[in-house]
Every structure is written in structure tokens, then in C-alpha cells.
Subunit: 188 residues, 2 copies
DNA sequence: CCACTAACGCAACGATCACTGCGAGGTTCC
DNA sequence: GGAACCTCGCAGTGATCGTTGCGTTAGTGG
């Protein structure tokens, strides 16, 4: 036994071959999800759309569920910017607006719905980043010595209506409506 | 051409053969959804579990999507009883409690998540009955000449947090928490 | 510059899926 | 009681899916 040589270090440097096929496969998944077909989102279909062979997808991800989870993780991580205007109300309005705008994107919405459909354990990825963002805003205001609503209340008042309306209804998530949610959390 | 004889009247009388098959297939779908497998919920699997032949399922429903929609429709229709205690607050608390209890059932939750995953257009079935129930409660109170919150506010304050917590998180929907939602809608 | 590792393409295989005629059984209506 | 209709079971077919072994290519470190 060769004394555990090198750990399975995946080639993920930008521009590398693995990174390219990863991006292509992710893009194919998003396109197929948005492609309003309900069609089977199966590995061979994704691979064909991405221009790679199905074998590659099977080996790297194994199943549609893991592939979806990976796409969701890379979609809902990193590219969020916590608003910081100095005013809690304004921060929360920016936050609600950003989230409404994000969930209005058909690709994102289709991804969220697909993730929910895979069993829910991976659904946390779709909201965890946003929830942390919300917590950061409130904790920062708390650090300034002001009274703040509880995280739980903020989630119920902002996150829940936004996600509920996006996922379960066809009503648009207008900026005015998103801001009105903040006015119900901070009535004064 | 036989001059359109009789309309396709499905044999749905209770106890009939079609009704038995339908019930068995619906039960099989619920069991497989709750069976915590993520496994493929495919027509042959459902048929085998229901003790019928796959051909029957293919002919009556055609696809997994339509089958799921049918199961959801018959699951979320009819068996709801609108609370009527004479007090708006008590009605809403009963309502929230009933809904929390309903969504706490793993079978129901799995069905909701699966419906969402199929594309969203059928997701309305999972909430429409409940929304009508909520509207009925509020309109009845309004008929008594009292001030009432808007339907939209009630949906955002009650329906949205319940569905959000059930679908996206693993937190339990405790009766106390459900009641606390009402206290935020009716603060006085 | 050269060897080594890892990721990818290729071609097969078995298994399962979705679908289609055909016949049998039960229910309804005359 | 008999005939028509609908529903279901049965067997077979083509297509697709998931998986595996092997050779090739790209990227990495000495």
C-alpha cells in the first residue's frame, strides 16, 4: 500500500478542464430547468446539452439529486452582498428588494422548486445564505445598541412571505410589496 | 365516425372497481413519497405497490405529473372543516393549529414538496383550499360588522410562515408557535 | 523536458421504462 | 336476460437509463 499518497484533490482551478465541464453542466441544468418542459431532467439529457459524455456526469455527481444540490450550492453561495446603509429599515428594504428580485428570475425559481422536490433536506441551501444575511443585518443593528426584532420574527415576516409567494403562487414579487413587508416588521 | 356516443364517464362510484384501483394507486403514491427513498417514483413502481398492472396506471393517468396532481387534488379537497366559534381570534387559532397539524404529517409534507417539484403550476392545489378557508373565516367576521385584516395580510402572516417552515426547514410546527402567528396578526 | 495522476471520451451491457394490441371480466342500460 | 360499454390484466416491443472497463488526453510536479 503506497502510504496514502495524495488526497483526491479535484482540479478546480479556473480555466482547468474540470472547471469547464462543471460550468457547462451547471449551465445545462439551469437551462433545462427553465426550459418549461417538466421533462425528465435526466443525466444523459443534461450531458448532451452540456456537450459532455454522460459517463462524466455519472462519475462526478452520481445522481440527479446530488447534481441539483451542487448547482444550488454554487448558485446560492458567495454572490450575496449584505446591505449596509446605517439604517435598519433601509437595510431590510434593500434586502427584501434584492431577494424579491432574485426569486423573480425564472431560472432561480425553477431551481428552488426542483430542489424542494428532491426531498427537502437539500432545500436548506436555498435559504441559508439569505437567512445568514438577514441575521447579519439585525445583529449589526443590535451592536449599535438599538432594539431589534427577533430573528425568528424577521424570518416569518420577510423570508416566509417572499418564498411562499414565489414558490406557491404566480403573483409577481413587486418591489413595493417587498418593501411593505418591512413596514409590517418595523411599524414605527 | 360514431357521432360522439357517450362522454367518458369514469366509473367513480364508491366500491366500484375503478374506485378501488384509484384508491390503491393513490395510497401507493403517498407511501412511496413518504418512504424516504428519493427513489424514482415511477409508474411501474407505483403500480406494483398498488397491486395493479402498470398498463392501468399509464392509461388512466399517463404520466407521473398528472398522477401527482390527481393525488394532490383529492388529498387537499373536501375534508376541511372551517372553524366557526364566533370569535375571529379563536377561529384563526383553530385554523392555524389545523394547518400546522396537517403539514406536520410526513406524507402530506412529502406530497407538497413533490408537487412543488413538478413545476409549480399544480402547486396551487396544495394551498387553494386552505386559502379559501381563511377567506371564509375573515369574510364571516366582516359580515358581523367588525374590522378585519385584509386577506393578503392574513396570508402573509399565517399561511406563508406555516408553509415556509414546513417546506424549507426541519423545525417542528408546534401548536404554540402556530397560535403565536395569530397574535401577530391580531395584536390587540 | 519528462513522468505521473486524474479527468474525460468511447463502446459495450443489463435493467428498467413507457407504450401498444388483444382478450377477459364486470357494470349498466334496454 | 342479453347486449353494449368500460376497465383491467397480459405479453411483447422499442427506447432510454444507469453502470462498467479500457484507452486517450490534459494538467501537475520533479
Amino acid at each position: 500500500m503506497p502510504a496514502q499518497s495524495s488526497p483526491p484533490r479535484t482540479d478546480s482551478r479556473p480555466g482547468g478542464r474540470s472547471a469547464r465541464v462543471r460550468a457547462a453542466v451547471h449551465q445545462a441544468v439551469k437551462e433545462l430547468l427553465a426550459d418549461e418542459a417538466g421533462d425528465a431532467l435526466t443525466i444523459p439529457v443534461v450531458a448532451a446539452r452540456a456537450g459532455v459524455h454522460a459517463t462524466t456526469v455519472y462519475r462526478r455527481w452520481g445522481s440527479v439529486g446530488e447534481l441539483l444540490a451542487d448547482v444550488a450550492t454554487s448558485r446560492f453561495s458567495g454572490d450575496v452582498v449584505v446591505p449596509d446603509t446605517g439604517s435598519l429599515r433601509e437595510d431590510l428594504e434593500r434586502y427584501a428588494y434584492d431577494l424579491a428580485r432574485d426569486l423573480s428570475d425564472p431560472d432561480t425559481l425553477a431551481l428552488v422548486r426542483a430542489i424542494v422536490g428532491t426531498g427537502g433536506e437539500a432545500a436548506g441551501v436555498c435559504r441559508m445564505e439569505r437567512q445568514r444575511q438577514l441575521e447579519a443585518i439585525i445583529e449589526r443593528e443590535q451592536g449599535r445598541g438599538n432594539e431589534v426584532p427577533s430573528i425568528e420574527r424577521a424570518i416569518e415576516t420577510l423570508l416566509a412571505p417572499l418564498y411562499y409567494r414565489a414558490v406557491f403562487t404566480d403573483q409577481p414579487l413587486s418591489p413595493e410589496w417587498a418593501r411593505s413587508l418591512v413596514s409590517h416588521l418595523l411599524p414605527k
